[in-house]
């Protein structure tokens, strides 16, 4: 195999800005989790607290998918190919939570 010469590949220099940005996003994820944790013991349980939890979870999901999974930087058609099917999940949530309420009314 004469064509597989062992050439030492010189790694490109580190882009400090990029690394800093990644750690900043990690810090955001950590802080949001800490806020959720804090609210769980300071706010009364109820629909308001649950809405805040769902909101903060979506914030975390946005950062993970857009930055860590790099989806924000893909072409538009790829972003939509992934995001549009997710709408089906919203329908399933609405349908099954309503169904759960009906089952409760029948049983109790």
């Amino acid at each position: 195999m004469d064509h597989t010469e062992n050439i030492e590949i010189e790694p490109k220099p580190v882009d400090k800005e990029k690394i800093k940005k990644l750690w900043r996003i990690a810090a955001i994820l950590g802080v949001v989790t800490a806020i959720e944790f804090f609210l769980a013991f300071t706010m009364p349980r109820g629909i308001l607290l649950y809405s805040v939890f769902v909101g903060l979870t979506l914030v975390k999901a946005f950062y993970i998918v857009s930055e860590f999974m790099h989806l924000k930087y893909e072409v538009k058609s790829l972003i939509w190919s992934i995001m549009i099917p997710v709408i089906l999940v919203i329908w399933l949530i609405v349908a099954l939570l309503a169904e759960g309420g009906s089952v409760y009314n029948i049983n109790f």
């Binding site: 597989t4 590949i9 490109k12 990029k18 990644l22 999901a61 759960g100 409760y104």
Partner: protein, 249 residues
């Protein structure tokens, strides 16, 4: 003018005719994205089932401090998951799952740093960050093993049944925390996620090995690191949702 119009029309017609990548992503990455989409549906199904069953059981009414587990109503998770290893008998609600969440977020960061090092063709850095990611994954799995062990064996006080027998822990038929389905959902949801973490660790180990022996350096790119990276971040993403819907709410 005329020339440029024909050109743009031609590109428009040809973009899905082959020879170009309309989504500007390789086949492997694209398929990983669509696999993850289908996996997202599976996890949505499991978590929404949790919501459905929780809605079909009575909620606990009364003050939080007076909460006692019973099979009559759905438990409040922060009252159930309050144990931390080596701190036996101390009431530390949700602290351990909080730590597990941080571990998984950190391993997601080390993964993204491995991907970044791959773009720079820096074999040493890819090796280092892949190793940290594997360690993070194994730590998470260890934590989950402890969590399962504690959940299955239960607390000292257990649950006193109507016939006077005290039941400890949980199995698929009954548990001391609440309705039977509560434990089943715990096993299904965290178990299915744990299986994903486990296969993620296996995949990461294969990629780590290939990096060390120089497969990707010879290939000229580290795209495989990106592909397992997508999978690994997805596992983290799912945990974010499990943390909220199973433990917080």
């Amino acid at each position: 003018m005329a020339v440029s119009t024909t050109l743009s029309e031609q590109t428009k017609k040809n973009i899905w005719d082959g020879g170009v990548s309309p989504l500007k992503a390789s086949y492997g990455k694209l398929m990983m994205w669509f696999f993850l989409l289908s996996d997202a549906f599976t996890f949505s199904g499991l978590l929404i089932t949790y919501g459905f069953l929780r809605y079909s059981f009575p909620a606990y009414e009364g003050s939080l401090s007076a909460f006692k587990p019973s099979q009559e109503y759905w438990p409040i998770p922060e009252k159930i998951f309050d144990a931390v290893p080596f701190l036996h008998g101390v009431h530390l609600p949700l602290l351990f799952v909080g730590i597990m969440t941080f571990i998984l977020i950190l391993s997601s960061v080390t993964m993204v740093l491995a991907v970044e090092a791959g773009h720079r063709m820096d074999k040493k850095d890819v090796t280092k960050w892949m190793l940290w990611t594997i360690i993070g994954g194994l730590t998470f799995l260890g934590c989950q093993a402890w969590e399962w062990n504690h959940f299955i064996h239960g607390t000292e006080q257990g649950l006193t049944l109507t016939n006077g027998i005290i039941f400890h822990g949980a199995n698929l038929q009954m548990n001391e925390y609440g309705p039977s389905l509560f434990a089943s959902l715990f096993f299904f949801i965290t178990g299915f996620h744990g299986t994903h973490v486990f296969s993620g660790v296996l995949l990461n180990s294969v990629i780590f090995y290939n990096t060390v022996v120089g497969t990707y350096e010879k290939r000229g790119h580290y795209e495989m690191v990106e592909k397992v990276g997508l999978y690994w971040h997805f596992v983290d993403l799912v945990w974010v949702f499990v943390f909220t819907f199973f433990y917080l709410i």
